[in-house]
């Protein structure tokens, strides 16, 4: 029986939105799917050799609960309601939010993005970087990990047209 196929277009370049494509791709691969991810626009950040620049921003994101990953339970349960205006003005706010998020991730036994990406590569998930946006954003191929390909929309459709599942993230 021919294996099922899944294609993902990854367009987001933040720490939180790095999870869905890599979680779904690695899991699908474990279930026997053949998987390709097409990284375009801000999604290119997920292909960089150095992923330490991925950040999360609670600014303008009312869906993101702000809770502390340390301290007694009553303290951890507090949902910090910080006004956008304050978030925008405090220097380093995004860095603090990112390090708190990373701590929460570690506390919950959730894999890191570098680990999940490595698991995808080990499972032969094929990764394609959009050449047009690579140039548009002034990236160089040397910014990205080695075992990826470069292509355009037509390259994506060649595989996507045959898939059972096709997602835009």
């Amino acid at each position: 029986m021919e294996s099922k196929k899944m294609a993902i277009i990854a367009t987001k370049g933040t720490l939180d939105w790095a999870y869905p494509p890599y979680i779904l791709a690695s899991t699908a691969a474990a279930l026997g799917y053949e998987v390709q991810i097409f990284f375009t626009f801000y999604g290119l950040q997920l292909l960089r050799k150095d992923l330490s620049g991925l950040k999360v921003s609670p600014l303008g994101n009312p869906g993101m609960p702000m809770k502390m990953p340390f301290g007694p339970k009553w303290f951890k349960d507090i949902s910090w309601n910080i006004p956008n205006a304050v978030q925008a003005l405090v220097p380093g706010y995004e860095n603090v939010a990112t390090s708190l998020m990373k701590q929460t991730i570690a506390n919950n036994g959730v894999a890191t993005i570098p680990d999940l990406r490595e698991l995808c590569l080990e499972a032969d998930v094929k990764m394609i970087a959009c050449q047009m946006t690579v140039e548009l954003f002034g990236f160089d191929h040397s910014d990205f990990i080695d075992n990826i390909e470069y292509g355009g929309a037509a390259t994506f459709f060649e595989f996507a047209g045959e898939t059972d599942i096709c997602l835009f993230i």
Binding site: S26, T27, A30, G32, G109, V110
Partner: protein
């Protein structure tokens, strides 16, 4: 229940228990049994779905003091 290999996935969260299970099964021969321990409540449904989609047989799934134990027979 007898088993040929054991995987400790306690403390790990989705999708790691499934990914590690897949990896451990690949190191077994057809018919051998893998025991998996997990603390992720989501892994109960996920393990059933994994078994159905990969053809590996989920022999048992049990909860004991907040821990989940699965036995899978490799396809």
């Amino acid at each position: 229940m007898n088993f040929d290999k054991e995987l400790d996935a306690r403390g790990l969260n989705c999708p790691l228990p499934i990914l590690r299970t897949k990896k451990s099964l690949s190191e077994l021969a057809s018919g051998q049994v893998l025991k998996v321990s997990s603390t992720d409540p989501g892994s109960v449904k996920d393990m059933q779905a994994f078994a159905r989609q990969t053809g590996n047989e989920l022999l048992s799934s049990a909860e004991e003091r907040g821990e989940f134990v699965f036995f899978l027979r490799k396809h």
